[in-house]
């Protein structure tokens, strides 16, 4: 069902947890649909210095969360904003068709966290 890469990220998820006093927070999804993703960021000089996730969801949801944090870590915000649902799914060597909506969540949560950071900067 899942690619090896997905199973790897599900079994050994990278960057699980929550950053204390984060610079940015993004949460997307809905528990009644079975998926919530929360991403917390620490940003320095426009670069993502640390990123963590918490996820309630299926194997694909966990794996995409893990993958998106790995992809975003160390990137500039502009670069991180280039990460798309598709690029996450591709980095995971594909997702089953029924699970494609999970990968949407991961990129969306990242984006929400970055936007939260940017909003706070401008506030």
């Amino acid at each position: 069902m899942y690619s090896e890469k997905v199973m790897d990220h599900f079994t050994n998820p990278r960057n699980v947890g929550e950053i204390e006093n984060p610079d940015g927070v993004g949460q997307v999804g809905n528990p009644s649909c079975g998926d919530i993703m929360k991403i917390t960021l620490r940003v320095e000089n426009n670069i993502i210095k640390d990123i963590k996730f918490k996820t309630f969801g299926c194997g694909a949801a966990v794996a995409t969360s893990s993958m998106v944090t790995e992809m975003a870590m160390g990137k500039t915000l502009d670069e991180a904003l280039q990460i798309t649902n598709k690029s996450v799914a591709e980095a995971l060597e594909g997702l089953p068709p029924a699970k494609m909506h999970c990968s949407n969540l991961a990129a969306d949560a990242l984006k929400a966290a970055i936007e939260d950071y940017l909003k706070k900067q401008n506030a």
């Binding site: 199973m7 699980v16 528990p31 009644s32 079975g34 919530i36 918490k54 699970k99």
Partner: protein, 387 residues
Amino acid sequence: MRKVYFDHSATTPVDPAVAEVMMHYLTEHFGNPSSIHAFGREARKAVEKARQQVAEAIGAASVGEIAFTGSGTEADNMAIRGVAYANRHKGNHIITSAVEHSAVLNCCKQLEREGFSVTVLPPDEYGRVTARQVAEAITDKTILITVMHANNEIGTIMPIKEISEVARAKKIIFHTDAVQSFGKIPVNVDELGVDLLTLSAHKIYGPKGIGAMYIRKGTFWHPIMFGGGQERRRRPGTENVAGIVGFGKAVELAMQRMYADAERLSKYRDRLIAEVLEKIPHTILTGHPKERLPNHVSFCFRFIEGESMLLMLDMKGIAISSGSACTSGSLEPSHVLTAIGLSKEVAHGSLRLTMGKDNSEEDVDYFLEALPPIIERLRAMSPLGEG
């Protein structure tokens, strides 16, 4: 790694004795039961023997009341739609429950699209509907009541006898889906008081792709598939001889094993329920605490999602299932769990553990070791609750 199969409500391994008889009817005695030559007569004899085995097991008055089908789903379709179409001149109202299998519910939905009117009774928190609810739902247009014997997701046993008394009194045809109860608790068509009943072989160590419909003599009914005259014109198509023979053998073995298995497995069941509730906080037992199948245990664990739990258990060699939406690729969690009043969020964290003849106390021990750290790990990863 230890392998523990705890998903017997999904399907069961074919018993080696069943597989062996099937083999003979696949290769040597391969005739078409409609053929009049020796190969055909041999196949016919075997099919009729299996019919006898099924008829006896459920206390049918005659073998003519059993029709073999291509699945439990097909038997549900035949029973429900066959009665509906044949009795449309009498009325268009059907009563069912909200916790039925999709084979029943989706037949009812189709009948609604075709102009029938369906009352879907809401169950109590344990998943039971009462005879009283049924009585109150009956109108002078009611032609069929269909309520399952035991629920596949939460193991709850319905008060079929009481419901059938209501149906009898009002002379309304009554069907029950006994796919999950058969072989686990007694299923007798006269004691239950049903006019039609659905069985499926692959839940009792028989092959997949074989079901049966019991139909009481004199029940007004129309076929829903068209072709040759097989199965007394009830179900066309060359008979799945090996499958039917395997079903017959599986029924025979199930009857021999039923009481001893029920006694043994219900002890495991009660231990599993007690220990899981004790060890893991924020856990809800789903289904009835007493009126449930002897092999059936089901929970919801708050703050976590079922598929992730299943995958982690699978990595420990434990095969188990969940009513989580994410296991089915839809966004809606189990209709059964929401019907008994659980929020979707909670329903997503469901787990169903269904034991079978080959499970041992060691399997139970192993599971009780494996589960808590998995729940803990997933809760630590979860943005919900105490996570």
